[in-house]
């Protein structure tokens, strides 16, 4: 029982009273009226949420996750928004027929499940209302900080510059037809066993080329060092162009599994990183295999290009071309690793494969929240962590160690290079 000093009591006391408005309702004959106060909470309970027509939405079942719980993906066909919902949320969704009030829906929930979670309905309604959950444009923290400091002329100037750069965004929402055509006229070959075999052969040739390059590494780096500016620009430019093929592969994989490519474009990520992007969130409606193939398709481009560069560079005579190919190959391998490595707090392709395998779509978010809010009290109380909590803690720890390792490695390379 809550005592007088209980924090929850204090929170309840600090919370403002529910708002009330007074309305006046006239009688039908026009003579006379009555006024009554309506509390927001009763209006909420009496509201009758109505789901969109069945023809406008699609529900797909996802495989059981960590806890063995079945989840679903709900798609709004008109806006192409997606929402992951649990079994109880699916039950509530089905009750939202426009005839049942929230109070009645809550009662139905209690009768069905024998208990009631008071947060589930508001949380579900908030989720159902969220229209842009899966937008491919990341919100920039930098922009938020600049917006908060508009009084500062420097921040204002930086914001204006970023705003101008953001206008460089080029987007096509009709790109699906283009990718469907590319797929039809040859793209489909990339998803055949022959393509897989060809990649394996190329990787073997690339490995051979890498061995050859290793024995001549001194000459290769010397050739690059003779033309440093040209080498850096060339390597960076070519790498940047390969980002397009990474995104194109994601799009083709999406088409391969008969899902829709929602958007393809070019944007200045965070206002200053030029990048291409593709919105293939429709793949969530496909099978797990499809999602994993889609996530792998992009990074495999880097493996292909790295193997190609290495296999061509290996037999070449030392020079700028050989150095350029070797540096490009290293950059491509690095991209492959970065794309597939899931433990870095970034939601790259590897992360998507991991969360799909674990059946924990909000792993990063849950993990950060768990560590920030619950881990320490749990450890202090000596309570044993559940399987899911171990996964959250492990993800957080691995990501932290990985980032620290990355920083240390870079510092070591810089120090080593400056000494050399």
């Amino acid at each position: 029982m809550a005592g007088p000093g209980n924090p929850s009591d204090k929170a309840a006391a600090d919370r403002p009273k529910r708002a009330r408005i007074e309305i006046l309702v006239r009688r039908e004959d026009g003579d006379g009226f009555e006024t009554r106060e309506v509390a927001s909470v009763s209006a909420y309970l009496e509201s009758r949420p109505q789901r969109i027509p069945d023809a406008d939405c699609e529900l797909a079942r996802l495989p059981a996750g960590l806890r063995g719980a079945t989840t679903y993906v709900l798609k709004n066909r008109r806006t192409e928004d997606y929402l992951q919902i649990t079994e109880p949320e699916k039950f509530l969704w089905e009750q939202m027929d426009g005839r049942s009030s929230l109070q009645e829906i809550g009662t139905a929930y209690v009768l069905h499940y024998g208990a009631f979670d008071f947060d589930i309905i508001p949380a579900l309604i908030a989720k159902l209302r969220s229209a842009q959950l899966l937008t491919m444009r990341p919100a920039s923290r930098l922009r938020e900080v600049l917006a908060r400091n508009r009084r500062n002329p420097a921040a204002r100037g930086a914001e204006a510059v970023l705003h101008s750069l953001e206008k460089l965004t080029v987007t096509s929402r009709k790109s699906h037809d283009v990718f469907a055509r590319i797929y039809r006229y040859g793209g489909f070959l990339l998803f055949t066993p022959a393509a897989g075999l060809a990649l394996l052969v190329l990787v073997a040739l690339g490995a051979r080329g890498a061995v050859l390059l290793w024995s001549e590494s001194g000459e290769v780096t010397a050739a690059l060092a003779r033309h440093p500016v040209a080498a850096i620009l060339l390597v960076k430019l070519c790498f940047w162009l390969t980002v397009v093929s990474h995104q194109v592969m994601h799009a083709l994989a999406c088409v391969h599994y008969k899902r829709r490519v929602r958007e393809f474009g070019f944007t200045m990520l965070h206002g200053f990183i030029p990048t291409f992007y593709v919105d293939v969130t429709d793949i969530f409606m496909a099978s797990r295999r499809a999602r994993i193939v889609n996530a792998l398709a992009g990074p495999l481009v880097h493996l292909f290009l790295a193997a190609l560069c290495l296999s061509v560079a290996g037999p070449l005579r030392p020079g700028l071309l050989k150095g350029f190919l070797a540096a490009s190959a290293i950059l491509q391998l690095q991209s492959l690793f970065v794309s597939l490595y899931p433990f870095c707090f970034l939601e790259m392709d590897g992360y998507h494969i991991l969360v799909d395998a674990l059946g924990a779509p909000t792993l990063k978010h849950d993990s950060v929240r768990f560590v920030r809010e619950s881990l320490w009290p749990r450890l202090m109380s000596g309570a044993r962590l559940g399987r899911q909590e171990v996964v959250w803690a492990a993800y957080f720890a691995l990501s932290l160690v990985s980032i620290a390792g990355f920083v240390v490695l870079n510092v070591w390379v810089l120090v080593h290079a400056s000494r050399g």
Binding site: P16, R18, A19, R20, I21, E22, I23, L24, V25, R26, R27, E28, D31, G32, F33, T35, S40, V41, A43, Y44, S47, I121, P122, I125, A126, R129, S130
Partner: protein, 166 residues
């Protein structure tokens, strides 16, 4: 108004509280009595108007149409309060809200022409009158902005819209 001047009542009306007694006695004959029964609508939003009213007894409800037969209650007014002055002095000569009697009520109404004549004849009293009217307008403005905030809060709570965590 035929009855004996009720200076005590006029002093309770903020608009007239700083005006001297002889001036109020002179104003009294210009006030016309108007009785309304409980539930009766005195005027509706957008009706034309050229009078302001003082509530002598009873109470009225000020409301604004929302939808169908439903209106938002803006205020309950009690004896000593005045309304309708926006129509007399404002740009638009139409009523900005609907007034209906909450109980049987007696109102004193002052026509625009009578008020203008009173102002022209009593410039010092007019200055005090307008000062009080400005104060009353500021208070209404503050009350209205508070109401807007409260109605917004109501809307957020009633719809369960979680804007803080979105």
């Amino acid at each position: 108004m035929a009855s004996r001047p009720d200076v005590t009542f006029l002093r309770r009306v903020p608009l007239f509280k700083d005006i001297d007694e002889p001036t109020l006695r002179a104003l009294w004959p210009r006030l016309r009595e108007r009785r309304v029964r409980k539930g009766e609508v005195l005027f509706r939003t957008n009706d034309p108007g050229d009078e302001m009213f003082l509530i002598f007894s009873g109470s009225v409800v000020v409301s604004k149409p929302v939808t169908g037969r439903v209106e938002q209650v803006l205020k309950h007014m009690v004896p000593g309060e005045a309304f309708g002055e926006m129509c007399v002095f404002g740009d638009e000569q139409t009523r900005s809200a609907t007034i209906q009697a909450d109980t049987d009520a007696m109102l004193l109404c002052l026509h625009r022409d009578d008020l203008n004549r009173f102002i022209e004849a009593n410039p010092r009293a007019a200055a005090r009158f307008f000062l009080e009217m400005a104060r009353a307008s500021f208070k209404r403005l503050r009350d209205t902005s508070d109401l807007v905030a409260e109605v917004t809060r109501w809307g957020l709570e009633a719809t369960g819209l979680d804007v803080e965590h979105k």
